[in-house]
């Protein structure tokens, strides 16, 4: 008889029933998907990035497909934190979702204010600090692309909230590990990465950008090899857990991130392609662990073997 594998993970103070989280901006406010997946079976739900106030977002076109990826410039359309707490949190709580609230600000004060407000809300499990959205000029990217900025926003939020604080790092920097270290120094409980890569697509017939915002963020399988490398680098650089994402579309891909050093993973774009991906990835991870006799998912994390290989001959 096979023993059940233990998928639960501990990210500092945050405990998740499994390491598979819906990525922010790719799962609405969670409730949209309640008809497709039991939210309580997910490790967590990172809701769409929230500002203090409602935002209209960019006009269409907001997405464009690219080879094995997509570029989006939604512009953080959203209902703002207050309506979110009123209109969405009750249902998320009812359904037993582990809610990570992804917060965005234009100023330090906005992040602090958002953190304060959300600290008192029942059912919020953690704050994911979006300091890396490439789609809006005033957004957190100014924090996310500067080491002092990152340190500043993380420590400011840290001071006002007892909730786990998870800054989400942008990949659009020279040395992402330095940002992970800055976040760690500032008191982050974990870091998540990667957000999208700043990108652009042109309609050659009209010679106009495909997106109304001209540039947007690239996500999907195309970026996976870069994201894996970045997770690996961060894992070497910090002691706090790393939440990895970028192009995960199967259990294999998730496992690749665990081996690279992610303690948990998020799935974004692949949920658009297959909203039933969650069960497939979870059961695929469990199947892999069983096959490799790995009892706890944490035993898989960061196990990349970089010693030289040897070959075995079997007739093929």
């Amino acid at each position: 008889m096979v023993n059940p594998v233990d998928l639960s993970v501990r990210l500092g103070p945050l405990e998740l029933r499994n390491p598979v989280i819906a990525a922010s901006g790719c799962f609405g406010y969670g409730v949209e998907y309640a008809g497709v997946v039991d939210l309580a079976t997910l490790g967590g739900v990172a809701v769409k990035g929230l500002f203090l106030t409602e935002r209209e977002g960019h006009p269409p076109e907001r997405i464009v497909e690219t080879p094995s990826g997509m570029v989006n410039a939604i512009g953080l359309q959203g209902i703002g934190v207050h309506r979110f707490i009123r209109e969405k949190m009750p249902e998320l709580r009812d359904r037993g979702a582990t809610v990570l609230v992804n917060i965005c600000g234009s100023t330090l004060d906005e992040y602090v204010e958002l953190a304060r407000i959300l600290s008192d809300v029942e059912g919020v499990a953690a704050l994911e600090l979006n300091i890396s959205c490439p789609n809006i000029k005033e957004g957190g990217i100014t924090f996310g692309c500067s080491l002092p900025g990152t340190h500043q926003v993380v420590s400011a939020v840290r001071r006002v909230t007892p909730l786990p604080v998870i800054p989400k790092l942008t990949p659009n920097v020279t040395d992402v590990a330095a940002f992970a270290r800055a976040a760690e120094d500032a008191g982050a409980d974990a870091v998540s990465l990667v957000n999208t890569f700043l990108a652009m697509v042109i309609d050659v017939e009209t010679r106009r950008p495909e997106l109304s915002n001209v540039v947007g963020g690239l996500s999907g399988p195309a970026i996976r090899p870069i994201a894996v490398r970045m997770v690996y680098e961060c894992r070497q650089a910090v002691k706090i857990p790393v939440i990895g994402m970028g192009g995960i579309a199967s259990a294999r891909d998730a496992i690749e991130f665990f081996i690279a050093g992610a303690s948990a993973i998020q799935i974004g774009t692949a949920n658009f392609v297959d909203p039933f991906i969650w069960g497939k990835v979870l059961s695929g991870i469990a199947e892999y662990m069983t096959r490799h006799s790995i009892a706890r998912i944490s035993d898989l994390v960061g196990t990349l073997d970089t010693t030289a290989r040897e070959q075995q001959w079997t007739s093929s």
């Binding site: 096979v2 609405g28 409730v31 497709v36 977002g57 997509m70 195309a222 949920n271 969650w278 469990a286």
Partner: protein, 297 residues
């Protein structure tokens, strides 16, 4: 052991009455079917009708709803493509077994669907979106189709004719070779008014020309409902005529869709709010069918 991962929420997923108030638009039973291509009929150099075995969707879909089809095998093309359900195919016992799509080749995904051989299996997610609201007699239904915008009207016309609604189809295309299934609608008892831009069939010009004439000439006491599907400028023209003649309309919009389930916010369209002002509504769950006067064109 894997039973702990029965992530698909059977409770919510299967209960047809659950959450009817909170998610008024989306279909309540969304399934992803690995559908086999059972037929693929080329209508012209660009148009084809592809039949997909998907009983779970075929038996549930309502006129105006759509499906998201995964056209590629690897991750390029990556995203699914939205298609209106064109026909519902039934077996000899009358059970819905398959759907067809009316496909127009415009890019990489529609080209794959155009060429797709029988036996190929494609994942089809649905049914999705807010359907048309069919009227009852004595209201008459005027369907206004531009090109491939014909697709949702086959099932709508059937539903309406079952209710004995008087139905007229205004159908415009670039050329005679772009007009399909006209006989099919006629056999159903649908009056057809055709236009082509090059005059090769029906009236020369845009479909809104005969529509406007009809609006002008019809008795003011006769209630009608206009349904429109086609390129957005056509929808705008129809909504505009509807307002001018003070008639209600339902339009099905086509926005670029990333997910079809409300997850990505790519498919938004500007919709008027009750208290004035407007906001971006996701057309995949708030639509694709809207009242013509809701939309800010």
């Amino acid at each position: 052991m894997l039973s702990v991962f029965s992530v698909v929420n059977q409770k919510y997923h299967r209960s047809p009455n659950h959450e009817i108030t909170k998610c008024p638009y989306t279909s309540l039973v969304v399934v992803d079917v690995d559908a086999e291509v059972v037929a693929n009929t080329r209508l012209s150099a660009d148009y084809n009708v592809i039949a997909l075995a998907a009983p779970a969707i075929a038996s549930d879909v309502k006129p105006g709803q759509f499906v998201m089809v995964r056209v590629g095998t690897g991750s390029d093309p990556l995203l699914r493509r939205p298609f209106s359900v064109f026909e519902i195919l039934r077996d000899e016992r009358g059970r819905a077994t398959a759907i067809t799509l009316l496909n127009k080749r415009v890019g990489v995904g529609t080209r794959l669907l155009f060429k797709m051989e029988r036996g190929h299996v494609v994942p089809v997610l649905g049914p999705l979106g807010r359907p048309f609201e069919p009227v009852e007699p004595p209201i008459r239904a005027w369907l206004v189709a531009g090109g491939v915008g014909l697709a949702p009207f086959a099932t709508l016309a059937e539903t309406l004719r079952t209710r004995a609604v008087d139905v007229t189809l205004f159908y415009g295309g670039r050329s005679a070779t772009d007009l399909f299934y006209v006989d099919w609608f006629q056999r159903l008892g649908v009056r057809t008014v055709l236009t082509t831009e090059d005059g090769t069939q029906g009236e020369r010009g845009r479909v809104t020309l005969p529509l406007e004439r009809a609006l002008r000439s019809i008795d003011r006491e006769q209630p009608i409902m206009m349904y429109a599907c086609g390129p957005e400028p056509m929808l705008e023209a129809v909504a505009h005529l509807a307002r001018r003649f003070d008639r209600p309309s339902q339009v099905s919009v086509e926005r670029v869709m990333g997910c079809g389930l409300g997850g990505c916010y790519s498919c938004v369209i500007r919709v008027r709010q009750h208290h004035g002002g407007s906001h971006f509504v996701r057309s995949c769950i708030g639509g694709p069918v809207f009242r013509g006067d809701e939309i800010v064109w």
